[in-house]
Symmetry: C2
Subunit: 536 residues, 2 copies
């Protein structure tokens, strides 16, 4: 009995909007400033965007780029662009003009939707773009530079009332391309499918308990893995999106109170800024807020602060290649009764695959599972419906990433006896010293506990005896002082001696335009000449 039209509908987030457009037509879909758009209005605007793009010559399979903060137009792009059958290319707003040009060129975008404040910063990229430029002028920001071409509202007006003819027939139809901001080489274009986007949205609903009564604050950039698929997830349940042009802790508190926010996502650095700005030491949220965090394990202090404010923290982990989170530290209700330190230790782990994702392994070089002993390092590999279709126009890179039928994350982890994984390092960052693995993350986390350390990066440097040894590059906090001896002693109290940095250097750290520390640059300068001899 094969599927037929009565019992098969391709999974697509577009059907989520089609449903909410009817069911929740008068409920608030999007809030920005003091303006609210209902689901009826929001869907009409997405439809108008699709119509306007179609009239501008956008066809199924074309690419439409968006360089926008978390404003309503960015949400509309997440539906309006795929409604034409085109792929959304949401660009990181912190990239340089050269990087933006590379992405516009590599993706072959036909249209660029750009914010007039952001446009000024990448003017050369916008000016050299050969396609149509549509500019979004935000009353809450400055029109720093208005590029030639139609304004967004004018453009939408031209598409109002048109009916998009595109229908998803194949679940593998691509819906978006997200360019990774790697620390080396050109960014790679990660392609998402309609099926993957829909299932990930359902997965986020399930793991974070989103419902019609939820209110989601947009602290996570939508250009980042399509905002972990939350544009589609929040819409699917008819909850409310609260847009936010840029993260500002005081404004976030105001919006949480003003709109009764129940959910938000952010890296621990964002959460730390947020918690540091707690209005009063006794302040508690009026409604419980569910906070999803990734990118670094939440510390016991952070967990305690969050809980003390009446919020709940979920720790997830993923990469652009897996639509954002692939794993969640799935919480057992029984663990709520444990002491804080113990809860923090459990929650620091990246955990297990999402319910809908299901396929996660930690393997050795021969793709054999490492033992679940909490000690043996292996590479995290993922498979299933939330792995990207591939890298856009890079079949070799795709095949390399998918060798053995699994996506290779490049992250090293251990598996604890209960099956939960814990990340230890990037594969290319791990230090092998005298045959022993040293997790640079572990050493950095130790250094971060020192009150004088603002930022640090640990890399392996050549050593005649041990092959390589850890070296720490440290930026101290303004006005703070600490010597190499002091930091070394600090580490030796907390780490096995072979893990402690043998060398220290106090300096500014090299970073990408998005703020990632470029360990490869540090390594390169240390290994120049020595690399072939020892590492080779």
């Amino acid at each position: 009995m094969p599927f037929q039209s009565a019992n098969f509908a391709p999974l697509t987030p577009l059907d989520f909007l089609n449903r909410s457009r009817v069911v929740f037509r008068n409920r608030p879909a999007v809030v920005y400033g003091e303006t609210t758009w209902t689901y009826g209005e929001f869907a009409d605007r997405c439809q108008a965007l699709a119509g306007a793009l179609h009239r501008a010559g956008v066809e199924p399979g074309d690419r439409v780029a968006a360089l926008l903060p978390n404003v309503p137009a960015m949400l509309e792009a997440h539906f309006g662009v795929p409604m034409t059958g085109a792929l959304l290319v949401a660009i990181n707003t912190r990239l340089s003009p050269g990087e933006v040009s590379y992405i516009l060129d590599h993706s072959g975008a036909k249209v660029l939707v750009v914010d007039t404040e952001l446009a000024a910063g990448v003017r050369t990229a916008v000016e050299s773009f050969s396609g149509l430029v549509v500019h979004v002028s935000d009353p809450a920001a400055e029109d720093a530079w208005v590029p030639p071409g139609p304004g967004y509202e004018e453009f939408l007006a031209g598409g109002a009332g048109t009916e998009a003819a595109f229908r998803v027939e194949d679940e593998a139809t691509p819906i978006s391309i997200n360019y990774t901001s790697g620390t080396t080489g050109n960014p790679k274009g990660v392609v998402y499918s309609h099926r993957g986007a829909a299932l990930n949205a359902l997965g986020e609903i399930i793991e974070t308990g989103l419902s019609t009564a939820s209110v989601y604050l947009w602290t996570l950039p939508m250009f980042h893995c399509n905002g972990w698929c939350f544009p589609w997830a929040v819409t699917a349940v008819g909850a409310t999106h609260v847009c936010l042009r840029r993260f500002d802790p005081a404004e976030a508190y105001r919006l949480i109170e003003r709109w009764g926010v129940t959910h938000l996502c952010g890296a621990p650095t964002v959460l730390r800024m947020f918690l540091a700005a707690r209005p009063t030491p006794e302040y508690r949220f009026a409604r419980p807020v569910h906070i999803v965090t990734a990118a670094a394990p939440p510390s016991p202090t952070l967990i305690a602060q969050v809980e003390d404010m009446g919020a709940r923290l979920t720790h997830v982990y993923g990469l652009t290649e897996v639509y954002g989170p692939h794993t969640v530290c799935a919480w057992h209700p029984e663990w709520d009764a444990l002491p804080l330190e113990e809860r923090a230790r459990l929650k620091a782990r990246q955990g297990v695959a999402y319910t809908h994702a299901a396929f996660l392994r930690v393997v050795d070089e021969n793709m054999q599972d490492v033992p679940a002993d909490g000690q043996t390092l292996g590479e995290v590999v993922m498979r299933g419906n939330n792995v990207m279709l591939g890298y856009y126009r890079q079949p070799e890179a795709t095949a390399e990433a998918f060798r053995g039928g699994w996506f290779h994350s490049g992250d090293l982890a251990v598996v604890h006896p209960d099956g939960y994984i814990e990340l230890k390092d990037r594969k290319k960052d791990i230090i092998i010293s005298g045959g022993e693995n040293i997790s640079t993350i572990e050493v950095e986390n130790t250094l971060y506990k020192h009150p004088a350390v603002a930022e640090c990066a640990v890399v392996g440097v050549p050593d005649e005896k041990w092959g390589e040894v850890p070296k720490a590059f440290v930026t101290l906090k303004p006005g703070a002082t600490a010597t190499a001896e002091e930091l070394r002693a600090f580490c030796r109290e907390r780490l096995a001696h072979f893990k402690c940095p043998k060398h220290f250097e106090f300096c500014e750290l090299p970073k990408t335009s998005t703020g990632k520390i470029r360990k490869n640059v540090l390594r390169q300068q240390e290994w120049s000449g020595a690399e072939d001899r020892i590492r080779g």
Copy 2:
């Protein structure tokens, strides 16, 4: 970019158990009496069942029948049978021996797993079955008759430690057959797929807010649409199943307290029994209980009683052909503030498609949508991932049900201006009197408000002037009295006059073995001879 092994995994509920087996290995999966099985143990037992079935010769595509109450073995069958690639045929426990024989024969089951108390009631069917009979002996029940063949635990022991070789390759792989208990003709075998079962399980999690902390009480029979896919949904989130041999209100209260039940499903009749047994007039649940109800709109009284006990009621609607519920009266948080009568009016509606289901229409004879005016009747048609693969070995019946590419429910409904549907009648039951539609459900619901009415059925009977007119068949409550004149006057106070029954008959109502009133028998006796003349 077509899917490949790294980024495509066929959707199947079996992966839910594979995940919970690891992630929730020490959490309670199944509770029965005072015994608890963890997810590790539950998964091992399912695996052992699969191994034993495989050793008994069960191959992918074969059928395995189960005639069991809501005991642990029935839950295990929902995983163990599909783990072999076979289809589970869960048989209604209230069927007659002849009906059971028909299903065993039509499905071509190789194995029958049967409860020793239930076996006595269908002994001739079990005795004439040519396949292997495995009997489940329940310490909580009587071994009324032990059929020849292995006991369930002995059978499982033979399969322990074996590895099932079957892997779902195609999402359209059938997972189960559920025989409908129609009021006419032989039951039809509704075939479910792995994809449909997995998506429906995710849909139930989303609509009912199931989470790892949930505890589900098995008041809904698992033989009914595979328990609306809750065996798979509850397992997916690592929540706890509380088994229940037969519905008994006092026992249900005890279990809710004993295990902290958060979710249960049941028809309003079951809920009414349950509420009538409220331990004290002030009794409230210690934890909020989410109750999902279907089959008849919940009355304002029922809603008030449920809410007064600290529970929340969700109204859903569906059929065996759509894996149980297809629609939900999706609740707007704003409606909580409305007066009870208004909430009841809104909640009485069957609503809109589930988030994952999405395709629902109410159409006229030409498959055109009826206007959303709350008045125009049309047939409810459904499409999408939660529509059955088809009727087992009945291609003509399947094609007829799927005409126009939609599943035809045979239910008549109106669409309200807000897009929510409300059922009015079965297509074959509606009365057309002088060109006006009369919903027999509406007339029956009015009669049910009369304190003397225990049961009633309204059908159209021939009438020279109007074509047909309503006739009510009524069973009075023991000891109660009411005359036809009294009931007619009661109706005329509450309904338009043309809707009021012109004739009354006091009698026992003809029913199927599952308790459905056979209106077709009543109609047949009234129309015998007249049918061709007036209806033809």
